[in-house]
């Protein structure tokens, strides 16, 4: 636990010693705000909720979260520090978890900094704060799922650009897998259980359910198990590819 905490602190600190953290946070806040007010018609709807804010999160995360995750392992390989890091007295699991938590908490910080939205909507009306809290939690879990994908892909390559592009593509597929675009492609030839399975992997469907206030534990469990599955894959990839 101490080891994970030490890795976590170093990794989180690493975001803030370079402009990366600030650039990311500013871009995230500006985009989230812009999308909410202009494309989401926040005011015209005259409803006191944050749906127009949360609805864009999957699409924002699609390219912002892989940008956070791409450096996690690719940079260690590029600079050769992976050889130093993994010959310290720590397990691959501790390394994977420490790094992931740092990046996830970083996403959480960016997400928390959108609190003026919450203040605004509470000032203008009386929203269901339970739903907002659940949406924040769901959004953070979804960011964690994207991040776990990004971290696992990052361990495959020393090139951060490649890590970013592949991770964003996989995240996109996972996001839209429940939409007609994907299901229409499968309908007609794939057996129904396959279609159902693919549909059930949709980040979008699970997040929309949370966002609409249908608080179902299974949506949270879905994201949590996505995170665990990809972190497990991450650890295996690190073990297999660390020396290449």
């Amino acid at each position: 636990m101490r080891t994970v905490w030490t890795i976590f602190r170093r990794e989180l600190g690493a975001y803030f010693v370079t402009p990366v953290a600030y650039v990311f946070i500013v871009i995230f806040l500006v985009l989230a705000g812009t999308l909410t007010f202009f494309m989401g018609n926040f005011f015209d709807r005259s409803r006191a909720d944050l749906q127009p804010f949360f609805i864009f999160h999957p699409w924002l995360y699609l390219f912002l979260v892989p940008a956070i995750g791409m450096r996690l392992w690719a940079e260690e390989r590029k600079t050769g520090t992976i050889e130093l890091f993994l010959t310290l007295p720590l397990t691959t699991g501790q390394a994977v978890i420490g790094k992931f938590l740092a990046a996830w908490v970083f996403c959480g910080i960016a997400l928390l900094l959108t609190f003026p939205m919450w203040i605004t909507v509470n000032y203008l009306g009386s929203p269901d704060n339970g739903v907002i809290l659940a949406s924040y939690l769901g959004s953070w879990l979804m960011a964690g799922s994207f991040l776990a994908v990004g971290a696992a892909i990052s361990a495959l390559t020393r090139n951060q650009v490649i890590a970013f592009v592949i991770a964003a593509t996989i995240c996109f597929i996972l996001t839209v897998s429940g939409t007609d675009m994907v299901l229409g492609f499968l309908t007609g030839w794939a057996p129904q259980p396959v279609i159902d399975a693919v549909a059930s992997f949709s980040f979008l469907q699970h997040f929309l359910a949370v966002m609409r206030g249908v608080i179902d534990l299974k949506d949270f469990i879905f994201f949590a198990s996505m995170i665990l599955a990809f972190l497990y894959a991450n650890a295996i990839i690190v073990e297999l590819k660390k020396a290449e």
Binding site: A14, V17, G80, T81, E83, T87, L88, P89, T91, K242
Partner: protein, 321 residues
Amino acid sequence: MSELIAIDGLTKWFGHIHAVQDVSFTVERGEVLGFLGPNGAGKSTTMKMVAGFLQPTSGTASLCGFDVLEQPIAAKRRMGYLPEGAPAYPDMTPTGFLGFIASIRGFSGSEKNKRIALAVERANLKGVMHQPIETLSKGYKRRVGLAQALLHDPPVLIMDEPTDGLDPNQKHEVRTLIEEMAPDKAIVISTHLLEEVEAVCTRAIIIAHGRIVADGTPAALAARDPWHNAVSLTLAANPAPELVARMSAQIAEIDGVLMVEEVEESGRRRLVARIVTGANALAEIGAQARNRNWPVAEIRLEHGRLDKVFRDITTAPRAAA
């Protein structure tokens, strides 16, 4: 237990390339083992396997009795490792970086500060502690890597080219440091600097094409040079060729002389008399040179040169190796 490092049958295949073939050795407390070999011979691959970073195809490595694959944490706790190129997080300062290493190594509070201060002093890092590592010179980066490896005062120290990129003064400092630490540690350094082996190593292993081709003290390896104990006569400026030929013939008749070679090095001509093992012909050759008034500028006993032995061994055909 005096054998702190035990390597047995270490083998590594990269696809169809047999990078390391059946390498075995042990290192005891107090030994400084120089791991020598041309680039690509398998030095770094072997060190990576010993450090537990690379999984061997077969064979085992254990540090202080702990197998690096079976009990990796216990083994790694007892090892300081300086990877090739001394990698460190470029955005961090040495203060932050050594603090991270100390925390991972389980130190906290005043013990942590004491450990860092000692490592900083040993690696001579004062003055750059608050600069990002990426802005440091190659020499300082290397020393940050050294400080990191020494921080927990490990019984086993594995260093891949510890003096690479250092200037002669810094090299001397690092070698002095290694000598100071040597008595209570088992140290392995890889290098391709032969002078380094002669300066700090108590033992040298030469590796070529992934195999150990020689193992012994630097002096014993140097003795493999055919010129070991040979008598070398540096000739004064341009003697007549007939005279040189006559000298050669006369030296060759002296007891214990095996053969006489004429060599030219940087404009000076030398006669080198190889000696039968165990014989000593220096005095007799010197006496003859005086009596016959040979045009000799210098007479010297050759000790054999490690670089020549290294070249002979590592460039030998594979089958012979």
